[in-house]
């Protein structure tokens, strides 16, 4: 086409009322501005059907690069196909997608669950009842739970007494945790699959006055802040790096566009942040 045409980047998010993704969006806009690219973003609100439609619209809008944060890894594959057919570069971010994606940039989610739950296990003295606050069944979340269970399984004194779905959202996580606390009088720890849910769980723990420790994944600002409160029950969160994921994704996409062979997956390291580490951490 016309060479003057600025590069167009489209990104479809699974949701946009989670700081994690809003931060990604900011990083995307900053990065795009620095290379003179235009950006469109859409919000699937956890609806694969809407996500596919959003992608189709962006194809019509003739974007060059599609950054895809799938709300469901299998469900979006027809969108991936359409995008590839239209000649777009497709890079999945945060969660991988099926279909011919050019690359995937995402956290090492098994590590994320394992690190958080090892820390949790040690903090409760390697024994006692633990609950898992689950989330939406997408690969990254499933992997975190898997990593967590693997870690906990190493401690015979620890028993996972309840797994409930907090929908990664504060209000739901709050009531679910209240019920978990009611039903399990001896609970010692809770693992939440992300910080959206952890903040609800924390509110419930604090209100109950019980000594239940909480570990999570993300490193979201509100979690970092909560951990630093003296005597906080929120003891650790495995940080992901949303800004870096975006920067890497754009880099990979450009490289691909210029003709490079890019790796099929770019796993991003995660890092356990405890109360001490929280003092200096931010996304």
């Amino acid at each position: 086409q016309t060479p003057k045409q600025p590069l167009r980047i489209g990104m479809t998010f699974q949701e946009l009322n989670n700081p994690y993704f809003v931060t990604m969006k900011q990083a995307l806009e900053e990065a795009a501005a620095s290379i003179g690219a235009t950006v469109v973003t859409t919000d699937a609100r956890h609806d694969v059907a809407k996500q596919i439609g959003d992608v189709e619209d962006m194809i019509q809008k003739k974007i060059d690069i599609l950054l895809l944060n799938p709300t469901d890894s299998t469900g979006v594959q027809s969108a991936v196909r359409s995008a590839k057919k239209a000649g777009l570069i497709v890079v999945a971010v945060d969660a991988n997608a099926q279909g011919p994606v050019d690359s995937f940039v995402g956290s090492k989610n098994i590590d994320a669950g394992r690190l958080a739950c090892e820390y949790l296990a040690k903090s409760i003295g390697e024994k006692g009842d633990v609950a898992i606050l689950d989330g939406i069944p997408v690969v990254p979340i499933l992997e975190r739970v898997k990593g967590c269970r693997e870690a906990l399984a190493k401690y015979p004194g620890i028993k996972v007494v309840s797994t409930q779905n907090g929908k990664q959202e504060r209000a739901t996580a709050l009531t679910v945790t209240e019920n978990i606390l009611q039903a399990n009088g001896n609970l010692k720890g809770i693992f939440s699959v992300n910080d959206g849910g952890s903040m609800g769980a924390l509110a419930a723990i604090e209100a109950s006055g019980k000594d239940v420790k909480l570990a999570s994944v993300d490193g979201a600002p509100e979690a970092i802040k909560a951990m630093q409160k003296p005597g906080s029950k929120f003891i650790a969160t495995t940080a992901q790096y949303p800004r870096d994921q975006i920067r890497l994704a754009i880099g990979i996409a450009l490289a691909r566009k210029w003709g490079a062979n890019v790796p099929a997956a770019v796993p991003v390291d995660v890092k356990l942040i405890d109360a001490e580490g929280a003092k200096t951490f931010s996304w």
């Binding site: 989670n18 504060r170 009611q182 509110a203 802040k225």
Partner: protein, 326 residues
């Protein structure tokens, strides 16, 4: 022609308290609540502990508060789908006022409530004066209110609320959690409004026969306006309590709350066609749903199965309390 008002069996003016209760639309829901509670007591360990009873009331409080305004809207033959979005908007707005502008809760809370009333007035204006169908008006304002909340917060939760505000969500007064007290106060006021003040009579009348009410000289449009304002207000109250409970203003909170509130209202015996029902029934309906949620969690039923059981119990409850055929 024998003059009139012959009372073959003059019924006791009001009947005893029990008779009155028995006749009320709230009676069967109450029976349902008791039945399910008994079941839960048997099926779980500490269902009836003071802690768990408070827990249930606490968890029902948000829905119960929203359901007050929803009851009024449904009694007039309308509905309000925007309540969930109003919960988000009022909560984020009040939070923003406190965190970003440093307003004290004393000022921020009224502002949060005011935004609910404004949305309610807008709904009411469209329904009452522009004669647009409530279901679609409030569906539209649902999107609008949610959009404003998201734009206002940029999608982030607003954190760092003062402790004096968090008290509204987690505090204890006279041994009872504050949200429960707020819920009870809301119902008390609503009871007086709907059963003892002219306002309530008009609400029922509009739902019973709007045209007749209008022709008799009642300002139907104004009362409908007020009803939606009330619904916006109670949704905003719930939004404040919700924000205080999670100590942050969440732009994404409240999705689907409208359906929970409708379920509470209808489970409580109010006719979805308007004109018939009782506010007390709504409280019972909300508690019934709360008991179900809590009890199934306590028993340890899987979340997926819970959906089915809850659906089944809602059906059963409505089946039992549906109006007798003809």
């Amino acid at each position: 022609m024998n003059a009139t008002a012959t009372h073959p069996t003059p019924p006791a003016p009001d009947g005893g308290l029990f008779t009155q209760l028995r006749r009320s639309t709230a009676f069967l829901p109450l029976v349902g609540l008791v039945a399910i509670s008994v079941f839960m007591i048997v099926a779980t360990d500490n269902f009836l502990s003071w802690g768990n009873v408070q827990n249930i009331a606490l968890q029902s409080s948000i829905n119960a508060i929203i359901a007050v305004g929803m009851t009024a809207a449904i009694l007039t033959g309308g509905i309000d789908l925007s309540v969930g979005a109003v919960v988000a908007l009022s909560g984020t707005l009040a939070s923003g006022m406190m965190v970003q502008f440093g307003l004290p809760p004393m000022l921020a809370v009224p502002l949060g409530l005011a935004v609910g009333v404004v949305i309610g007035l807008f709904n009411g204006y469209c329904v009452a004066y522009l004669r647009m169908p409530p279901i679609i008006v409030t569906l539209a304002t649902m999107g609008i209110a949610r959009g404003i909340a998201l734009i206002y917060t940029g999608g982030y939760p607003i954190d760092g609320l003062p402790d004096s505000f968090a008290f509204l969500g987690g505090g204890v007064l006279a041994g009872i959690k504050v949200p429960i007290l707020i819920m009870l106060a809301t119902y008390l006021v609503a009871y007086v409004l709907l059963n003892m003040a002219p306002f309530g009579r008009y609400v029922y009348a509009i739902g019973g026969n709007e045209e007749a009410t209008r022709l008799s000289g009642v300002r139907v449009s104004r009362y409908k306006l007020l009803v939606y304002a009330l619904s916006g207000f109670t949704a905003a109250v719930a939004g404040i309590v919700q924000a205080a409970r999670v100590t942050s203003g969440q732009p994404g909170v409240g999705v689907g709350f409208e359906l929970d509130a409708i379920a509470a209202v209808v489970m409580g015996g109010t006719s979805i066609a308007g004109g018939r029902g009782a506010i007390v029934g709504t409280l019972v309906g909300a508690l019934l749903l709360g008991v179900l949620n809590n009890g199934l969690n306590m028993i340890g039923v899987s979340p997926y199965l819970q959906l089915i059981i809850k659906g089944g119990i809602v059906l059963l409850a409505i089946f039992i309390s549906r109006e007798a055929k003809r």
